[in-house]
């Protein structure tokens, strides 16, 4: 989750071994367990929105980005608002660009195919783990691949469980699952706090998003708030 304190340390080499894959998976296992309630909640929410169980599992398999999948469900309607869907998914997942950029000095030493295989399972938890590994001098990108694969498998299986049990789980809001995502995001925001200079960009993002939620077409408030916060931050620090 830490997008700030990741020095893009220049490494001279990068490898990708099976041993690294196994070690990465083992190291991330405790975190992967906590992906399961998210996945179940997503599967159940997708069924509520009228997606079939196979389609919701398909989405989790090929998208593998929980927040953007929840956001997509909000836009899931006929006719499909494709442009808004693409922009919202991009806005929610744009942080991946930064995460990837931070790993670039390492991953650029890998052959193209291996590099993109590792990046295709990039997510916040395994990025955080990879950053720590990089700092202690690891060169094996298999760590990122292995941890990402385990998170991916957990996400797919949990989605399937949620999609199948969906209607039998009853009203998930009763258990407070509907606030799971915003509680997690709230924690992520607090975890990103680096002191007072962050306050103004965050307030700008919050204000624009909040105003946008009422005055902009549905879904655009996240894009608007994110850009406003990003530009404010760039102007103040650039």
């Amino acid at each position: 989750m830490n997008a700030h304190g990741a020095p893009a340390r220049t490494t001279r080499t990068a490898t990708l071994t099976l041993r690294g894959v196994v070690d990465g998976a083992r190291e991330i296992a405790p975190v992967a367990i906590f992906v399961i309630p998210f996945g179940i909640a997503f599967g159940a929410a997708a069924i509520e929105k009228g997606l079939s169980a196979p389609l919701s599992v398909l989405m989790s398999t090929f998208v593998f980005a929980g927040a953007s999948q929840f956001a997509a469900l909000d836009l899931w309607a006929s006719p499909m608002p494709y442009l808004m869907l693409a922009l919202t998914v991009f806005a929610v997942n744009a942080r991946h660009i930064l995460l990837g950029a931070a790993l670039a000095p390492w991953l650029l030493h890998l052959p193209m195919a291996k590099r993109y295989a590792v990046l295709s399972v990039l997510s916040d938890p395994n990025w955080a783990q990879a950053t720590r590994a990089l700092q202690r001098g690891e060169t094996d990108a298999g760590l990122v691949l292995g941890s990402g694969l385990l998170m991916w498998i957990a996400w797919i299986i949990a989605t399937a469980i949620g999609a199948v049990l969906g209607s039998n789980l009853g009203d998930l809001t009763r258990f407070g699952f509907d606030v799971l995502m915003i509680a997690f995001f709230a924690a992520a925001v607090v975890g990103q706090w680096r002191g007072l200079p962050d306050l103004v960009p965050w307030l700008v993002a919050a204000t624009v998003a909040l105003a946008g939620a009422w005055i902009l077409p549905f879904g655009w408030h996240v894009v608007a708030g994110a850009l406003a916060g990003g530009i404010t931050g760039a102007l103040r620090h650039g």
Binding site: Q69, A104, L108, V179, A183, A186, V189, A228
Partner: protein
């Protein structure tokens, strides 16, 4: 109701966009050195996305959601555990709904 072809197209679109964000950082870094200003933009963009998601969702979710978010934030400050914060937020919402008010 969204028909299957539309759903498959939408999923393909989401998958493509998401994959491009995953590889985008490395691709950009292989061509363009990220200036301090662009880095500051990306860094604040990343957090601002989350802020822009949370605040309207909490406000629209009413008092229960706002209290749950506040609880999660507080637990995060105290414990630095995202998982603990998440569970505390969910427990808070469940508790509030169980109360006869």
């Amino acid at each position: 109701m969204v028909d299957e072809t539309t759903a498959l197209l939408a999923i393909a679109l989401m998958a493509t966009v998401t994959f491009l964000t995953r590889i985008g950082g490395v691709v950009i870094m292989s061509f363009v050195p990220i200036t301090p200003r662009i880095e500051a933009f990306l860094r604040h963009l990343a957090v601002s996305v989350i802020v822009a998601l949370v605040v309207p969702a909490a406000v629209k979710g009413g008092p229960t959601a706002m209290l749950a978010v506040a609880t999660a934030g507080l637990v995060m400050v105290l414990t630095r555990s995202a998982v603990g914060a998440m569970l505390a937020g969910v427990a808070c919402a469940a508790l509030l709904r169980a109360l006869p008010i």
